[in-house]
Subunit: 151 residues, 2 copies
């Protein structure tokens, strides 16, 4: 199962996957062409890395990087993880996540964060099996919530 980094020419297929993602979960989404323009823009910058898995491709992980505050390293945020419905159950999500961790470490990130909805148990089990925790200070601290506001 090969994972590769998306390049500018992949903006269209990335946009299609992100569009399908939103459609599947009944989230509002920009049209594919608009998303493709945005993804091309982001891939041209330095803070976004997108990993693709499978031949079609069949899934993606979107990573964001920035300078950490408390150390001289980077911090990484997993913004999106998606596998096409017909290809699920074959370990593509895990393959993407293992590649994401490898890429983040190679780039010098000291932490990875993810925002996850409580009922998304398949994703949560995947993240937990890789060592992620939604409790501060490893596994012993309090639960950590995401608070959000549309401005």
């Amino acid at each position: 199962m090969s994972v590769r980094r998306a390049v500018a020419d992949d903006a269209g297929v990335v946009a299609q996957l992100l569009y399908d993602f939103n459609q599947e979960f009944n989230e509002s989404t920009p049209p594919v062409a608009e998303l493709a323009t945005r993804i091309a823009y982001l891939l041209g910058g330095k803070d976004t890395m997108i990993l693709l898995v499978g031949d079609n491709p069949d899934g993606l992980a979107v990573l964001r990087f920035r300078d950490a505050i408390w150390t001289a390293n980077l911090e990484c945020y997993l913004a999106e993880l998606y596998v096409t419905p017909t290809r699920r159950g074959n370990g593509l999500g895990r393959t993407l996540m293992e590649a994401a961790l490898e890429e983040a470490r190679a780039r010098g990130a000291a932490t990875m964060e993810i925002g996850v909805d409580e009922p998304d148990l398949i994703a949560r089990r995947l993240y937990e099996s890789l060592g992620f925790s939604n409790r501060a200070s490893g596994h012993d601290g309090p639960l950590m919530y995401v608070y959000e506001l549309d401005l």
Copy 2:
């Protein structure tokens, strides 16, 4: 209660506040001088804004910005919010947050996110009073967790 944006010359006082923050909550922290170097570096970049309140100053908010994925706007992350213990209960946290929201809107951010520990009720009440929610899709969706891994 005046709020101002930190500039490079404020790196030392920002570092002292961040150091005090970590000491108060028994988190490991780099020494003040090391933090000051890091803060000066971050203030020299484009993705970090630090707001200071009070004369000493007495508190700070650290904001991070990056290009959003789904829209052509920015997204904002409130990385730190701190008020000196002796100055609490005077609305400085709220003043900082109101200024943070104003600055984020002015800069073109469409969303603000915050990671908050479950027992941190004073902060959670403040964020909720400003319209933040730890439930997806406004106030009706599932709880949103932060998952984290040290790499």
